[in-house]
Symmetry: C2
């Protein structure tokens, strides 16, 4: 594969080249990893930055419909929009969010849109690296907004928030008693809560739900990187498109404030450091995937299971063989 | 410290020796780790097994009161009961479950009871190993039942379930709409749901809540290691002690069935293997805590944060220095 040529075509914004580049960073093969590294290094000097928006919402809130409507809205503003899906569970569940582009039929036909389903992959560490690299490729390809969509599985929301400039939480209208169904941790990472389906019969309930969440958000500790009034809750309708303009203006206000006060840069710096350390941890653990190590672990694991050796002793045995050489 | 003497006194069921032994396994010092290993090896041949019961419940469900009542009930049956608390967040929150034994005043005064608060410790990997070793010490000291209590923080419930023979979920009476507040994952690991506070004015609501959970449990997939009718939901009252006999009989029925069908042994074998692999992972990552490695990571982290080097390149640099010698 000619990496120089691929880099040129990604940089020119060719969607097919971008798709191919993402396939490359998604590969676990050592030669592909090397090529992916060279590709990312070749594109890094461009210094292009998109607005990275993390987006979460449980099934049934109308996430695909919202992304389609919001994506179309952004494209009408003259922006280029990429949508990446993160679903660490897709390998197990078989199904995958965005597995079917037809769920965003209009958006996927736009030349200024790029939609990428979640790769089948179960290990969060691997998913994180690949998604970050896919985001970097979308930025290099000149996309203005990268939407990183996740389902609320395990730590995936935290992971996506750690690679986003801004985190959106999409919720459905609900009775007051259901509010506690939202994990507290998610409330704490959300910059903007959008209560979807604020249309037709559900509109009054959506407004009440929004008011409830706004109240709940006010109870959270003030964050240093937020201007007055954030995090915020608003209503939207993916169907009537009501509220999309407001939501986008709110996002722009928040981002402008954060840029002005240095939070944008600080956040990206903090995230880069975080992912560096994550990569180190992931790399250290990858030795366990090697065939001979795996075989030894399986053998010892049998002995541990049979009670022939204690878990601690067996672990010490493996670790003796894997003891790192420290040359630092 | 005379490890042989300590082992003898733990084996004799001396509570002060047990407390001292647990302090030893909780220590991170290398010489203490070696002594702890020797102590556990000395006690392992006893082959004593307790019934390990994991217990979770959010604040407000009356967990301490339940443990006190249930613990007293078990002691009245002639059993010896140990209570260990696991709270990975205690280092941060300052407060700790079971931090104050006065919360279980009656139980803590019983000579057949042993109560151990959660150690101040933030890292889950370390908490897991220490708790497992404390459980092993309680078993060696001749306790019949070891209650491992956790708050529902992060992965702590999964961790406790992975070292328990049986997992109890304690819930409070609640309106139907609040049912979803229970994390789905917890429903899936629970063997028995106990709706507490089934007394006085709350009794009818507790019965309805119990029926709701029973219905929800029926919707879960049948598990191979469960007899007909499990997992089960029941009501109890820690105050009036209603339901404690039923709950204990239900636990005994379940455990007898599992023993008879080989699930008890298989589960312990599976858990031992799991913890062996966790110990290996934890051990591999511990190299990152070494001073010189940490310093190098901090320096590179600054460069990553400043954009002088990419996260991937910096990680590759560290990993080159930490590359393990594989002698397997």
């Amino acid at each position: 594969m000619d990496i120089h040529d691929l880099a040129t075509r990604v940089q020119a914004g060719e969607r097919r080249a971008l798709a191919r580049a993402i396939t490359l960073v998604e590969s676990g093969r050592a030669d592909h990893r090397a090529q992916a590294g060279a590709l990312l290094d070749a594109l890094a000097p461009l210094g292009r930055q998109a607005l990275r928006i993390g987006l979460s919402g449980t099934p049934g809130v109308g996430k695909s419909t919202f992304i389609e409507a919001f994506g179309m809205f952004l494209i009408e503003q003259g922006l280029k929009v990429a949508v990446l899906a993160v679903d660490p569970s897709s390998a197990r569940s078989g199904g995958s969010i965005l597995g079917d582009k037809t769920r965003m039929e209009r958006l996927s036909r736009q030349k200024n849109a790029f939609i990428r389903p979640s790769p089948s992959q179960s290990q969060l560490g691997g998913v994180a690296r690949r998604t970050r690299e896919a985001v970097a490729l979308c930025e290099a390809a000149g996309f203005d907004v990268v939407l990183i969509e996740t389902v609320g599985v395990g730590q995936s929301e935290t992971m996506v928030a750690e690679m986003s400039d801004l985190f959106l939480l999409l919720l459905a209208p609900a009775g007051g008693d259901e509010l506690q169904g939202v994990k507290r941790g998610i409330m704490e990472i959300a910059d903007l809560i959008l209560v979807n389906k604020a249309d037709g019969d559900l509109k009054p309930m959506a407004m009440r739900t929004c008011a409830d969440y706004a109240g709940a958000l006010r109870l959270l500790r003030k964050r240093a990187y937020d201007p007055q009034g954030f995090p915020k809750a608003m209503t939207v309708s993916a169907v009537t498109q009501d509220g999309l303009t407001d939501a986008w203006e709110t996002i722009q206000t928040l981002i402008a404030w954060r840029r002005e006060h240095g939070h944008w840069t600080r956040r990206r710096a903090h995230q880069a450091r975080h992912w560096f350390e994550e990569d180190v941890r992931h790399g250290l653990l990858s030795v366990l995937d090697q065939k001979d190590t795996r075989a030894r672990i399986d053998t010892l694991g049998d002995q541990v299971a049979n009670g022939q050796i204690s878990a601690s002793r067996a672990a010490a045995d493996i670790l003796t063989h894997l003891r790192p050489v420290r040359k630092i």
